[in-house]
């Protein structure tokens, strides 16, 4: 077996240190080693977007990174969104608009939308659809998702500026 490596990184604000085999992807590391099972794995080759997390604040496919690469890195997952049992405004909007059915793709979509709304606080419906093209949802047909993202954008604009907030 290949030599294991120590990785120390920050996940959702908490330091983590583990011994990992090089071939362990970040997605498997999050789910198996840190028991953060909110991050879902769909295709495991970068197409479906279910495993999207934030690395240094930017969305990435966690199935296409190895945990061993991330010594010193800062990662945020879907578990980071809700605080003290209260849903993040993006999550609340998804809940109220029924913007999910089976929910499998939802964690990746939430992280993608979080990034989108940081960059573009008032996206058009076309822009929302374009940005979500990398997240495959086979249940909803996206209508309710686009509604939810528009609503979430309005909610976040109403509470902004929160200065480094979520």
């Amino acid at each position: 077996m290949a030599e294991r490596h120590v990785v120390r990184l920050t996940v959702n604000g908490e330091p983590a240190e583990r011994l990992v085999e090089p071939r362990k992807t970040l997605a498997d590391f999050l789910r198996q080693d840190l028991e953060l099972t909110g991050t879902h794995l769909g295709c495991e080759h970068g197409v479906c977007g279910a495993c999207t997390v934030l690395l240094e604040g930017k969305p990435v496919r966690s199935c296409l990174l190895f945990a061993v690469q991330l010594d010193g890195a800062e990662v945020r997952t879907v578990e980071w969104l809700a605080r003290d049992g209260e849903l993040h405004p993006i999550q609340a909007a998804f809940h109220e608009h029924f913007a999910l059915q089976c929910g499998y793709c939802t964690p990746g979509i939430l992280m993608t939308v979080h990034d989108l709304l940081q960059r573009s606080p008032s996206p058009s419906r076309d822009e929302i659809r374009r940005e979500l093209a990398g997240n495959i949802c086979r249940c909803t047909g996206y209508q309710a998702i686009v509604d939810a993202v528009e609503d979430a954008a309005a909610r976040l604009r109403a509470v902004a500026p929160r200065g480094g907030g979520r």
Binding site: H5, E44, P59, V60, G134
Partner: protein, 290 residues
Amino acid sequence: MKPAPFEYLDPRTVDAAVEILARHGEEAKLLAGGQSLVPLMNMRLARPRRLVDLNRIGELAYLRDDDGGLGIGAMTRQEALEHSPLVATRCPLLRETTALIGHPAIRNRGTIGGSLAHADPAAELPAAILALDGRITATGPRDERTLPAESFFAGALTTALAPDELLTRIALPPLPPATGTCFLEVARRHGDFALVGVAVIVSVRPDGACGHARLAFCGVGDTPVRVERAEALLAGRRPDAGLLEAVQKLVSETLEPPSDLHASADYRREVAGVLARRALTLAWKRVSDG
């Protein structure tokens, strides 16, 4: 776990990476952004014994002025190309092309060097770099050499890089004054690889005729493909409707694209010609719009 086991190496300098390649040659695989290689490893289509991670080599990530053109480190992320003001002014074609690659989550990791070295015939960046007459520098154990893009792409997923060479730098010469550029593609979904894509560069002479012209396509062969006969047809002439029609026809007749599940060769030929005409029209308009 999906990939087969491998030994992981993360050199901090180009010299250290090259030394690893000299020692292990074809047993070592270079990992850039990983957006193509890691899927292949997850599906076990690639089973490298040693993975040499280039992401810790800070000296390979830069974007700088290069005698009026651009000097780009191989590990510069596609996201950086997309949002760089220097790229936007010096080489808007590169920005337009990069924005068509995958999705933001892909471009946040994907690199220009990785895309060129992977040499997927459907990928956008190789076609753009070919159209831009880019020069690609490879660093080996003894020296480095610089190749024109024209001789870099050898076949599908195959380049002129030797097993002990590392792609380190891409240099793009400055474009002539009064030059317009455009990249267009047809893909099945936004963010997919193109069925056909075209990078166009066209400069306008003071007399209103076309000067320098380049047309490079992706998705139509084993490598990015230039249609030099169409470039020659444009030179010295005004791009009126008749000339654009002739270019479209010539492109469709010249290319020999593959047929696959997604599109027939005939369809790709048709689309390539239409895209060439549209991209030329847009590039020309961009010159006159300043």
